[in-house]
């Protein structure tokens, strides 16, 4: 993967709006945003209703993912272009799902919905219907998903990258600052994790920084890709999917996982070590 095969810009999307092999998919945190206007032809995936198991805390399994894509009219041979609000947090999260379930032809719209809006490009309220397909997903690729036990074992061994804001990392905030403070039982971070907020990888308009800027960012934070595998985490795994996209898809680092349990799981575990304050802490 690289920037050329993982990312497209708004001009590219505008010039492919009528391409029958390309399916635009909007994924937002604010799930009502799509209904107030979307890119022409785009279908909606609701990150909470569609991508989470309704009972257990886990995301949709292989069969549920197949049913979702079939119902939305996405075929195995389609090229999927994802975009969304919040600087593509949830679009990146969905991108990670598509890769996890083996859909290789997936791209992210650089800057997502925000850049599209700031450019004053056209959005429509026109409903979109696509003919159902019989989508077949592959078994989940767990080389890109980390679970809690692996994360605990990674302390002091692998690169742990906490991509939340500095105040969340330090334990001064438990959740992003546009939501009431409800979250894990404890504040802080996983000991030895570097704090590289996801936002440092993006420009103000939501587009990704250049490869050179990104490499410098992680190098200066002491993330050693040469000798260690990497696990990224945040609060619920969507901002760290954004960083996973940067590391695995843009910078082509092979051994990077997203820990989607993230702080809401880790910060509520009994008996695991927690570091507070601005320093990574000891293993």
């Amino acid at each position: 993967m690289s920037r050329d095969t993982a990312l497209v810009d708004a001009d590219w999307v505008e010039s492919h709006l009528n391409d029958p092999d390309i399916v635009l998919v909007e994924v937002d945190e604010d799930t009502s945003a799509y209904d107030k206007g979307h890119i022409a032809g785009a279908v909606k995936i609701d990150w909470k209703e569609d991508l989470q198991d309704p009972i257990r805390r886990d995301f949709v399994n292989q069969q549920q993912f197949e049913a979702l894509l079939s119902e939305r009219g996405i075929g195995n041979d389609d090229t999927v272009v994802l975009y969304g609000g919040n600087n593509n947090w949830f679009a990146s999260y969905a991108y990670w799902y598509f890769k996890l379930y083996g859909h290789d032809a997936v791209l992210l719209l650089d800057g997502g919905r925000k850049k599209w809006e700031l450019d004053s490009r056209e959005l429509t309220e026109e409903p979109v219907t696509r003919e159902a397909t019989a989508y077949t997903a592959k078994a989940p690729n767990l080389a890109i998903r980390a679970y809690r036990d692996e994360v605990v074992e990674a302390i002091g061994v692998k690169n742990l990258v906490d991509v939340r804001s500095p105040d969340e990392y330090a334990g001064r905030l438990l959740a992003p600052a546009h939501l009431p403070q409800e979250s894990a039982q404890r504040g802080g971070h996983i000991p030895t994790a570097s704090n590289v907020p996801w936002s440092k990888a993006a420009n103000d308009d939501g587009t990704f920084k250049s490869d050179d800027e990104l490499k410098t960012l992680y190098a200066e934070a002491g993330v050693d890709f040469g000798n260690k595998d990497t696990i990224a985490y945040c609060r619920i795994g969507e901002r760290s999917a954004h960083t996973w996209f940067v590391l695995h898809e843009l910078l082509d680092e092979p051994d990077v996982k997203n820990y989607d349990g993230s702080w809401t799981e880790y910060g509520s575990l009994v008996g695991v070590p927690v570091a507070i304050g601005d320093e990574p802490g000891e293993a």
Binding site: D30, L118, S120, P176, A177, H178, L179, P180, P197, D204
Partner: protein
């Protein structure tokens, strides 16, 4: 992320005494509210903490921590505007941003 980040609406169900709220409205030069602008909350070091789009009535809200913050507002056909604000626990800091 359970919740739609719109500001300026009811605080019903929120324990204001526990929160350090920053909210306000984005207006254009002639005082019209600007919907669809993006307000970014930057911490005391200038680091991004959160971002919300403004509502149909130009409003936004953040649940911050006590301290000094900067609001950076982006809107179509407009240069970014930075504005300082101080949040305190149990209080609502009201801000009007003119772009």
């Amino acid at each position: 992320m359970c919740g739609v980040p719109v500001g300026g609406l009811s605080l019903e169900g929120v324990d204001v005494a526990k929160e350090s709220i920053i909210q306000g409205v984005v207006v254009s030069g002639d005082s019209d509210p600007v919907s669809g602008a993006y307000v970014r909350l930057l911490d005391r070091t200038g680091e991004f903490t959160a971002e919300v789009p403004t509502s149909a009535t130009g409003q936004f809200r953040f649940f911050a921590a006590p301290g000094d913050w900067t609001l950076r507002t982006l809107a179509p056909r407009s240069s970014p505007v930075d504005q300082r604000v101080t949040a305190s626990r149990g209080e609502v800091a009201e801000v009007v941003i003119t772009i």
